[in-house]
């Protein structure tokens, strides 16, 4: 019985494909985009050190890249949105980054309620 329950859990956790499986990556990318906007906003106000700013931007970019490569449907609307985020320069305008994060949030909410 316990063994069957474990197998079921592993199946549920591991076998989903498509937007449902990508939902966690969409959420991660939305959060990373919003974090990037927050970092750039504070950096523009001179409130962060240069090392911290550069490191956060680099880490965010690396994680976004990982998120994009983890998608089961990279050619989807959310895949394109994550790609658009990745194409932004390091010092992109916070409003621009936020707009991408907001669009990902809309997609995320839509998939969650579906």
């Amino acid at each position: 019985m316990t063994r069957q329950l474990w197998l079921l859990l592993l199946l549920v956790a591991g076998c989903a494909k498509g937007p449902e499986a990508d939902l966690q990556y969409i959420g991660e990318a939305r959060s990373l985009g919003a974090e990037w906007a927050l970092v750039n906003e504070q950096a523009a106000g001179g409130r962060l050190t240069s090392h911290y700013t550069a490191t956060m931007r680099q880490n965010i970019r690396e994680q976004l890249q990982t998120t994009r490569t983890s998608l089961t449907r990279p050619d989807s609307r959310y895949g394109a949105e994550i790609q658009a985020l990745l194409e932004q320069p390091d010092n992109a305008a916070p409003a621009e980054l936020r707009a991408h994060a907001d669009r990902l949030k809309t997609i995320e909410d839509g998939l969650e309620s579906a």
Partner: protein, 411 residues
């Protein structure tokens, strides 16, 4: 009871309370569920107060470390299972702390993360070799007090205090979907685990023996565990509340440990950022030392070796070799370039599974009148102990399914 010693002990407990897992889960919990998980932090803090006090009392009265007593109480086989399980969970926790130090130094200096992880490990090993126990504990604990900047930042951003206070009342937010309920449950289990890490009991009780505690120190033990852990928990709650106020509305679900430092940068600028990062660095360094020593204590006590940092390193050679090897193993895990956030997740997951195995023998020992005499558990410690044991057991059973169903809390 020396008032200066007591104050320093409390301050050390406050500064040493927060570790990388609490940092990560407090920020994530706040951004995802607002103030609704504050009560879990408060509840888990009472749990670590109960078991911390118990482990200190057993050490002071029996003058024997928990793991040595555990072996006699549980027998060799079950004792060995407990030892191996706790070694694995604490080693992963130690690796998460070492990785966390590397990351924070990376934010502070811009130098490569893995290089900073190596440098951190060498500094920690050198400090453990050179400094006596009391100073190792105090230096990292007291410098960890820089984390108070998070509490100051919270006051500066004027949170809705009434809502924040309401978060201390046990609750599950209304209107959550099944997926969100599972995520809420996962966060609750993770916070319980992060606050009640098993290594804390081993380290604390072994520390009592290092400092030659006796029955006269029982009041110090009680005050340190209640006041020190209680105030330390408030720092973690401040991080959660700051995240609820600043990150949640901005759609930020902190994906990196460094994001939390923004909570202090937003109201206080660069000074706030630096204080937050330094506070995090020393708090995490303290936790790295505690996890490594807890493991070395456990091995040495189980096998009956000479142990203790009150001895010169060469006077307890196998104990010394154990903590050196354990630090190197933790570094080796970090050098595989595994993500620190994943290490934090695994540390919390393994630890909650080990928690019942850790606290049951401790409670049986503290309950035993033939062993503890008049210092055995009274009704309050006994009652709370069994309630928390039942809860951590339920959490241990639920932890892995919740992890799988929520993709590690991602939903």
């Amino acid at each position: 009871m020396n008032p200066l010693e007591l104050t320093l002990g409390i301050m050390t407990a406050v500064g040493g309370f927060v570790d990388i897992s609490e940092l990560v889960f407090a920020a994530k919990a706040g951004s995802t569920f607002g103030y609704a998980l504050i009560w879990v932090f408060a509840f888990a803090t009472v749990g670590i107060m109960v078991f911390g006090e118990m482990s200190g009392r057993v050490a002071a009265v029996a003058k024997q470390p928990v793991f040595s007593l555990m072996r006699h109480r549980l027998g060799l086989k079950l004792g060995l299972v407990t030892l191996v399980a706790s070694l694995v969970s604490t080693l992963i926790t130690c690796a998460a702390e070492v990785g966390g130090m590397g990351l924070i130094l990376h934010y502070l200096t811009g130098a490569p993360y893995l290089l900073m992880a190596v440098a951190s490990t060498l500094v920690l090993m050198a400090s453990m070799w050179i400094l006596p126990f009391k100073w190792i504990e105090r230096i990292y604990g007291l410098l960890g007090l820089l984390m108070i900047v998070f509490a100051a930042a919270l006051v500066a951003i004027h949170p809705p205090w009434a809502k924040l206070a309401a978060g201390f009342v046990p609750q599950v937010p209304a209107g959550l979907s099944t997926k969100e309920l599972l995520q809420f449950a996962y966060f609750a289990v993770a916070i319980l685990s992060a606050v009640m890490f098993p290594y804390e009991a081993y380290f604390y009780s072994s520390g009592g023996i290092e400092e030659h505690w006796g029955p006269k120190d029982l009041l110090t033990n009680r005050v340190t565990t209640t006041v020190g852990f209680g105030l330390g928990s408030l720092l973690a709650i401040a991080i959660l509340a700051g995240s609820a106020q600043l990150f949640g509305p901005a759609n930020v679900g902190p994906e990196m440990p460094g994001t939390s430092a923004l909570e202090a940068a937003i109201p206080f600028g660069r000074a706030g950022l630096l204080l937050a990062l330094l506070g995090m660095l020393f708090a995490v360094a303290g936790a790295a030392v505690e996890t490594c020593m807890a493991n070395a204590y456990a091995i040495a006590q189980f096998f009956g070796w000479e142990w203790g940092r009150h001895k010169k390193p060469w006077e307890a050679p196998r104990f010394t070799l154990a903590w050196i090897v354990l630090f190197l193993l933790a570094l080796l895990i970090v050098m595989t370039d595994v993500d620190v956030m994943s290490l934090v997740e695994y540390a919390v997951l393994f630890s909650i599974v080990v928690l019942p195995l850790t606290y049951l023998p401790l409670m049986l020992l503290a309950d035993d009148k033939s062993f503890m005499g008049k210092y055995a558990n009274k009704w309050l410690a006994k009652g709370l102990g069994w309630i928390y044991f039942a809860i951590v057991t339920a959490a241990a059973i639920a932890a892995v399914p919740l992890y799988l169903l929520t993709s590690g809390g991602q939903g």
